[in-house]
């Protein structure tokens, strides 16, 4: 296996610029985009905080303000909205739980928020008792993303026992496709991001034995294009975010060595803005916090020097997950 080094043809990771980029995100309140993305504010905070952790600058965001903001998004039913005043949704709820996990804020959730148990109940109530899958909110949209979000958050809270894990597992299995991948619901096309949610959910449930790992690994490794980048589906363009979705799935089934590691590192580094910081989807495009999170997570998974090791199931620092799960 090729040794990851910083002295290749690529420019090297501009850590300081990336940290600065993430820290200035919240100050751009005079930009239209800031207001247009309000429905993603809590998720955005998670992506930014993750990036800082992976770049080994976890203390860069003020802890108290972070917790205050997260708790201000919580509803009486325990769920979290994307921003104060937005409806509670499972996707913002998992972001809230993950942020609190990263800043060691579960005690504050109990003391100042509605408490862990209420969050657990909010999530558990979203399970469809017939299929085992999860809704995103009271509106009943089902998607393997929501199922993964539920298992992720509940396992971090130590409340997995609130839901029917076996049923959830069998729903994931029903989303497997003929090509070895998984889709958003039964019958839907295989997609790298959906594969991550399915495989990571099975890993959290301890049921990787249900995955045809060789077939899946073959499909995932075929995502690498000659330029080194990974795509999300066959015959589509490469994109930095798939460095996470594909790579983490390969890591979970222990097959990262099936792709060209150095070529992918070079591709990811080519997507950074070395001066202003941040990563984009492809070289030369506009950077954003989403690609900055998954670009740095990808580099961490690839063992790039100086990065905080990441847990492929949770997209969080390994040591934090280990501390919480007691692994």
């Amino acid at each position: 296996m090729a040794q990851a080094t910083a002295d290749t043809k690529s420019p090297g990771l501009a850590t300081d610029a990336h940290v600065k980029y993430v820290l200035t995100l919240d100050t751009k309140t005079d930009e239209l985009d800031y207001w247009m993305t309000e429905h993603l504010r809590l998720n955005g905070a998670y992506w930014g905080l993750c990036a800082l952790h992976f770049l080994s600058h976890p203390e860069a965001l003020p802890r108290k303000e972070t917790i205050d903001f997260v708790l201000s998004c919580q509803h009486d039913n325990g769920g979290f909205g994307a921003a104060p005043g937005h409806d509670a949704h499972i996707l913002s709820t998992v972001s809230a739980v993950q942020i609190l996990a990263m800043v060691d804020g579960f005690e504050e959730l109990d003391a100042r928020g509605k408490g862990k148990a209420v969050v657990g109940k909010f999530i558990a109530d979203l399970q469809n008792p017939d299929s085992g899958s999860f809704y995103g909110d009271e509106w009943g949209e089902e998607d393997t993303r929501f199922l993964y979000a539920a298992l992720n958050a509940l396992s971090l809270l130590g409340l997995l026992s609130l839901v029917d894990v076996d049923k959830a597992v069998s729903h994931v299995v029903s989303c497997a496709n003929f090509d070895g991948g998984y889709g958003a619901k039964p019958g839907a096309e295989s997609h790298s991001a959906q594969i991550f949610t399915c495989v990571a959910a099975l890993a959290i449930a301890g049921r990787l034995d249900l995955v045809d790992q060789e077939k899946l690994g073959r499909w995932l490794s075929e995502r690498q294009l000659p330029g080194g980048g990974l795509n999300g589906r066959p015959e589509k363009k490469e994109d930095v975010c798939y460095s996470w979705w594909v790579l983490s799935s390969l890591q979970i089934i222990d097959r990262v060595h099936w792709i060209d590691r150095q070529a992918l590192i070079d591709f990811i580094l080519g997507c950074q803005d070395p001066e202003k910081g941040g990563f984009s989807d492809r070289p030369g495009d506009m950077v954003d916090v989403w690609h900055t999170c998954f670009g740095s997570a990808g580099l961490s998974l690839l063992g790039y020097p100086g990065m905080e090791p990441v847990d492929p199931r949770y997209c969080m620092p390994k040591k934090i997950v280990a501390r919480i799960l007691g692994e």
Partner: protein
């Protein structure tokens, strides 16, 4: 009584220039001083300078007093200064004088021509919307501003009349005629323009619409100061603040439906507004087909938005529960019109994940396993052989159709219920497309998927796959499909021809797919 230059109420002479009013008033009050001192100063250029001059005109000896102080004044100046200072206290009986002295005093005042009213020093004109001191305005500028202020006041009077009139009408259970409302709308637009011009306030279209007067908008809690700079964001911030208010009061009405449309037009990614819209549609029992019609345009304008498709699915479920489940013909018609629209949108964005997912949901929900569905998918594959979404959908409609498949059979497992003829047809179809584009991943994956469903081995397509390479390992080696080599390595392996299998994998690793060297090495290690 002190004359403050700004203390004019404009209700009566609203359209009259305030500036000229001031001038007239002051000229009448201080004839003597205007004729004496005004001529000695240079004419003022700004309104602030003029205020200063008028201050000196109405406060005699004040300038000298400022320059030399009381002790430096001549005895005559001291007398004038003191007299002028005493005018108000004496007039207000704060200083009690005997009748005789009082008469003497006023005689003296009249003789000297001292002003009975005087202006205060350092009059503040305030600032305009740019933060500029209005005192630095030239006269023409002030005249224009004053005229606008007067116009705004006049409009405000009419606006208040409208509100009173409407209240009176409503107390009798009536509404004002549309003509009045239209006039008020026009009036508010003019008022908004004037407020923007004078004070930089930007009331949005909803604040200008009388229909929304009863709603008190709930503004954003986050910092708002930055918002004023972008006009578009102002409209958005306003709309969302009204949205919060009507959502909080759980109002489901036609105007709220229009409000959701307004917000969606500006930001279709706003998650909550879609859910609220669906609540309105179901609460008002609106026509689902009308809503779908509206949604079509939104979908065509925002291809990457997934809320649109979730909203559509909610509408489908709602429509199904109320109508379609008991009316097979209506269900068929609906499925047909839906798939027609889906085809239209897929023509613009052929691999849209949400659209394809909705299509699968629709077919399952309405049991719409029609030959038409297979045909349209087929034509999408013909258009682009590499459209993995279309291949994936074909697999779904062929192998999930309950008329010739086992219910609940997993996509990866052998299904004995699938007729051989269908398997043959699908294998032939995949092979035909592979021949057209041998390096296409999608068609090879499809071929493997069909074989697994039919319980047929890879060796059954060995001859077919072998045509995509020749002279393996030799100088003149030719490979037109790495996928064929991959498949044949498995076939050879199964047939016990390890060396041949190995050769395929070595060539893949070294020549035809080196980026996945790690994978091919693994496969090689499995051969032993």
């Amino acid at each position: 009584m002190v004359c403050a230059e700004r203390d004019f109420t404009l209700t009566k002479r609203t359209l009259m220039s305030v500036a000229s009013l001031h001038a007239t008033a002051i000229r009448q009050l201080t004839p003597a001083l205007l004729s004496s001192t005004a001529t000695t100063d240079a004419p003022p250029v700004t309104v602030g300078e003029r205020s200063k001059q008028r201050y000196y005109q109405t406060n005699p000896v004040e300038r000298r007093f400022e320059e030399v102080g009381f002790p430096g004044l001549t005895p005559a100046e001291k007398k004038t200064y003191t007299h002028s200072r005493l005018i108000l206290p004496v007039a207000n009986r704060q200083v009690s004088l005997s009748n005789k002295t009082d008469r003497e005093y006023w005689k003296q005042v009249t003789k000297e021509g001292l002003p009975c009213r005087r202006l205060k020093n350092n009059y503040s004109w305030g600032t305009d919307k740019h933060g500029r001191d209005v005192g630095t305005y030239r006269f023409e500028e002030l005249k224009k501003r004053s005229l606008s202020q007067a116009k705004l006041t006049a409009l405000t009077v009419l606006h208040r009349q409208f509100l009173l009139k409407r209240e009176a009408a409503r107390s009798k259970g009536a509404e004002l005629p549309q003509e009045d409302i239209d006039q008020e709308k026009k009036r508010r637009q003019e008022m908004a323009a004037l407020k923007r011009e004078l004070y930089g306030e930007i009331p949005g279209p909803l604040g200008n619409d009388p229909e929304w007067d009863d709603v008190i908008p709930i503004p954003q809690e986050e910092p708002q100061d930055a918002l004023a700079r972008i006009a578009y964001t102002d409209d958005y911030a306003e709309a969302v603040s009204y949205l919060r208010a009507v959502m909080a009061s759980e109002e489901y009405s036609p105007r709220c439906l229009r409000l959701t449309e307004h917000v969606i037009a500006m930001n279709p990614g706003h998650y909550t507004v879609w859910l609220y819209r669906f609540k309105i549609v179901s609460a008002l029992k609106l026509s689902i087909t009308d809503e779908i019609q509206w949604l079509n345009d939104v979908a065509l304008n925002h291809l990457k938005n997934y809320q649109i498709w979730h909203h559509r699915q909610l509408l489908l479920d709602h429509h199904f529960a109320n109508t379609l489940s008991s009316d097979a013909e209506a269900a068929k018609q609906f499925a047909k019109s839906e798939t027609d629209f889906i085809s239209k949108i897929l023509a613009k964005d052929t691999k849209n994940y949400h659209v394809w997912s909705y299509r699968q949901y629709l077919i399952t929900k309405l049991n719409y396993w029609s030959p038409f569905e297979l045909a349209t998918t087929q034509s999408m594959i013909e258009d682009d052989l590499r459209n993995n979404s279309a291949w994936s959908h074909r697999f779904f409609i062929v192998f999930s159709d309950p008329s010739h498949s086992t219910k609940g059979s997993a996509a990866t497992e052998y299904d004995p219920k699938v007729p051989g003829a269908i398997l043959d047809r699908e294998i032939a179809y995949a092979e035909e497309k592979i021949k057209l584009a041998p390096q296409n991943q999608s068609s090879w994956l499809y071929l493997r998927g069909v074989l697994a469903k039919g319980g047929r081995g890879l060796d059954t397509v060995g001859d077919f796959a072998s045509q995509f390479f020749s002279n393996l390992g030799a100088e003149d080696e030719e490979v037109t499909s790495s996928h064929a080599l991959d498949l044949m390595s498995e076939v050879y392996h199964k047939q016990g021809e390890i060396e041949k299998a190995k050769l395929c994998l070595v060539e893949l690793s070294e020549k035809w797919d080196p980026v996945r060297e790690g994978y091919w090495k693994y496969r090689l290690s499995e051969l032993k």
